[in-house]
Amino acid sequence: MYRKFLNARSPLRLLEKGLHGGLGPGNLGVVVGGPGVGKKSFLVGVALDELLRSGRVLHISMTHSVAHIRDHYDTVFEELAANAHLEDETQVHVDVDRNRSIRVYPRNALTTAKLREAVKVESETAGQPSLVLIEGLDFKTTSREDFVDLKELAGELAAEIWLSVSSRKEQIAQLPPSVERVEDLVSVILALEPADDAVLLRALKDHDNRDLTELHVALDPKTLLLTRH
């Protein structure tokens, strides 16, 4: 299969449909899930989809090393390529690597000032990111002003910014208080919850839509791929 077909058939299209067009440039999205449920795999899935559409991704982490995150991308990519019988896998992989930058900071060391600096360095050298992923940002200690600034940055870059948040519980009955505090600044909030054979995605917030529809997208815990459900 060729890259563009792979993209057209991606479960991410289904997710976008369920979310009335997806997250959209200039917006913040949050994925909430229990420990080890697959938040990173979700982010990597979103990133690979963007990369296969020739977008640029900046992946920021305060929890893992560069090598670890890269391995994760490689694993998911290989799984995806094998699953879709991707043509010209080596070349596509090289292109994907080229358009992705990983940045790792010590825990609690990321400020919006640092983020802006990183985006500036990226834009001047490799290129301006169209998607930014942030793992391990502590919502409790990050101020509301910082979230406002983050939202502004998304607007300036016309990029989507996804953040992951850990919850203690596996089933997300309600928003964690740290997220609720800034709920108005976030456009989309998704919950990742383990079910019998897959990890299901559920919308907790979908822009201004009151009627939250079923997303029909899940994460396969074996292959770490996003799938239709």
Binding site: V66, R70, D97, Y105
Partner: protein
């Protein structure tokens, strides 16, 4: 023979250039009684450590940097194994690390963790070598052991724990406080040989208590007993030692020791720590491959009664002639016995077996599993495995990576041509990733290896050790060719020019191998004897011949699977030669249709520098067609990991220096082969085809 294996320590001392490895090694040999006077390393600030020690060795007639030096401390046999300081020597590093059971990571108390330490440390992690750390040079101005310990945690991801506190720093550095015994330790006498234990100075009591508590906190993770003892306030020294040892062996803990080798402080306590915390040969697991079972992995037992398995890890042309250093992994090596080289299958008689000391060597009768000794007069290459005749085992896989870079060399002075030959002969035997050949077209001597620096070092050694200075040509990158799609062939080789003719037909397909980097695979799916069995190897040979020189740019072809499923023979005119020719012809026919592409070697490049220079660092990588994998920021430093084609890396050191005002450092190793960009492929193809025209004329 050492009977109690638990008293053996095979250790490496790994250090960044200038962090004082030579001085530390010399002090260790002095305190353990192997050398009798201390002499300072000369020209510390302008020459690298290896050269320092070589000069020192020459002057003093002692061996500090021999491949393995044996010494004894407090009833323990310590073999200090020389670890090469640079990563360009992939195979050499790999081999040196294999024979180590543990290592001392020496860090400069001022400069701390530098990028070179990172590469060496990463390799030690890869080979699962437990480490303890020694922060040296605490007498220097700007020394800060706490900061260096933090760097160990942040940059190298060690769980580093200070086991001592310094008493004074810089010019006032006097001694250390042992946080296990809670005593102050001073090193008195002209050479610090008298270790004096006193009470902790009053003004440092509180600080020491706090440091001990945090040490116990970290260490108690590795022993439930210790944790209980802490709660019940019944902590003993032994409980702490056991916990530190178990954390160190599992590589979850790095105990940190302090001192200044130059000022003769702290070295004896470090030796105690080597005995206490680093593993003996019994603690680790060593594996080999079973050559009688397709290189299946097997575990070697440190048991003197099992069949012998020993690895030759270093050859040395010493003052005493050709020495082969071996580590015995299993069984025992005895004088007068017969051993067999697993690679060459040659038998050797063990004439002389010696243990190397700094200033002498000692003849021994036998050596058992876990020990490191040297053999005389055995002709082999380093990396060879010796066994007794009962087993077919190799410690290392027989697979050696192909060199990625070549340069042409020419002696400046014709008189030294012979020496060049001698030097090359020896280097090739020592290092399988180093090759030397005479190019038949240009009649030049070409050397190949794993990186620019790898070759630089050999060029330097030729000059220094063999008095043979050479001119070097422009570096040549080792490209490869491969195919990117399947192509079928059906080729008939037919020749009828009087006498018996030649006839052979082969049909089948060539296709890319899945992982892309395997060398060459030949599969025969011939049914009903359409090609007689005796000719099948000839067909394979025909194809294999084509792999050595591709038709795109003249470089070797890799990653090709040939499947032959049909053919035809002639009862009179078919011969091995005819089928070989048919194989070659079939490949020629199919290759252009299999969409051949050029692969280029890509290096993993790590650059580290101050955060404010990261833009400049990234630019040096982008300019070189590099792919930035990621950046790690911490404590004001940025570490950029990337992959860059080797062909773009020449002169990188100079460029990086000027772009970052000399604040950044880099390290590099071969990563993998990747398709070269279209424009570069085109350029290479044009160059190659113009050469072919020349040849034809």
């Amino acid at each position: 023979m050492i009977r109690d294996l638990s008293t053996i320590r095979n250790i490496g001392i790994s250090a960044h250039i200038d962090s004082g490895k030579t001085t530390l090694t010399e002090r260790i040999l002095f305190y353990t009684g192997r050398i009798h006077a201390i002499h300072e390393v000369k020209g510390k600030d302008d020459v690298g450590a290896t050269m320092d020690s070589m000069e020192l060795e020459r002057e003093r007639g002692i061996t500090i940097q021999s491949a393995a030096t044996h010494t004894v401390w407090d009833g323990h046999h310590i073999n200090i194994i020389d670890t090469p300081g640079h990563v360009d020597f992939t195979i050499e590093v790999e081999r040196a690390l294999r024979v180590l059971d543990g290592a001392v990571l020496v860090l400069c108390g001022v400069a701390g963790v530098q990028s070179q330490s990172m590469t060496v440390d990463r390799q030690m992690r890869r080979y699962k070598v437990p480490r303890i750390a020694f922060i040296n040079k605490l007498d220097r101005s700007g020394a800060n052991p706490v900061r260096v310990t933090q760097q160990l945690c942040e940059k190298l991801a060690h769980n580093a724990v200070l086991m001592q506190l310094p008493i004074g720093l810089e010019a006032k550095f006097e001694g250390v406080i042992d946080l296990v015994t809670m005593k102050a330790i001073y090193f008195k006498g002209d050479n610090g040989e008298h270790v004096v234990t006193e009470e902790i100075p009053e003004e440092m009591r509180d600080e020491a208590e706090i440091a001990r508590e945090s040490m116990l906190d970290a260490v108690s993770m590795f022993s439930d007993e210790l944790m209980e003892a802490i709660l019940e306030e019944t902590v003993t020294e032994d409980l702490i030692h056991t916990a530190v040892r178990s954390g160190t062996l599992s590589m979850d803990l790095t105990p940190v020791f302090l001192g200044s080798a130059y000022k003769n402080k702290g070295v004896q306590k470090l030796l105690d720590a080597v005995n206490r915390y680093l593993p003996s040969p019994l603690d680790g697991e060593n594996t080999g491959v079973d050559l009688s079972n397709d290189e299946a992995a097997l575990t070697l037992a440190s048991d003197p009664n099992k069949p012998l398995v020993a690895l030759a890890f270093k050859l040395e042309d010493g003052r005493y002639g050709q020495l082969t250093y071996v580590r015995v992994y299993q069984g025992a090596l005895k004088k007068g016995s017969t051993i067999i080289n697993s690679r060459t299958k040659k038998k050797h008689k063990v004439g002389r077996l010696v243990r190397m000391h700094a200033d002498s060597m000692e003849d021994i009768e036998s050596s058992s599993a876990g020990d490191i000794v040297a053999l005389f007069g055995i002709d082999c290459a380093s990396g060879d495995t010796f066994t007794d005749e009962s087993v077919q085992i190799s410690v290392t896989s027989m697979h050696v990576p192909e060199p990625v870079i070549s340069i042409a060399i020419k002696p400046i002075d014709n008189k030294t041509v012979d020496n060049m030959g001698k030097a090359l002969g020896r280097f090739v035997r020592e290092d399988p990733t180093f090759r030397a050949r005479v190019d038949p077209e240009s009649n030049e001597t070409v050397i190949s290896g794993m990186g620019e620096l790898h070759l630089d070092v050999y060029v330097e050694r030729m000059k220094r050790e063999y008095g043979c200075a050479v001119e070097t040509g422009a570096p040549q990158v080792a490209y490869r060719e491969t195919i990117s799609q399947r192509a079928d062939f059906n080729y008939t080789h037919k020749k009828q020019t009087g006498g018996s003719g030649q006839y052979g037909r082969v049909a089948g397909r060539i296709e890319p191998m899945e992982d892309g980097t395997g060398d060459f695979e030949f599969v025969s799916e011939i049914k009903g004897g359409s090609i007689p069995t005796e000719y099948v190897p000839a067909v394979e040979k025909g194809f294999a011949q084509c792999m050595t020189k591709g038709r795109l740019i003249g470089f070797p072809v890799i990653g090709v699977r040939v499947v032959v499923d049909d053919g035809k023979s002639h009862s009179v005119d078919s011969s091995e030669m005819a089928f070989q020719a048919a194989g070659r012809g079939a490949f020629r026919e199919a290759y252009p249709r299999a969409r051949p592409i050029v692969l280029e070697p890509v290096m993993k490049l790590e650059v580290e520098g101050p955060v404010e220079h990261q833009g400049a660092i990234l630019k040096t990588i982008m300019q070189r067609r590099g792919t930035v994998i990621g950046t790690t920021e911490s404590a004001g430093m940025a570490r950029v990991e990337s992959e860059v084609p080797l062909s773009e890396m020449f002169g990188y050191a100079t460029d990086l220096r000027s772009m970052t005002q000399g604040t950044a450092e880099f390290s590099m190793e071969f990563a993998r082969y990747l398709p070269a960009p279209a424009e570069i492929q085109k350029e290479l193809k044009e160059k190659f085809s113009s050469k072919i025209v020349d040849d034809d004329e």
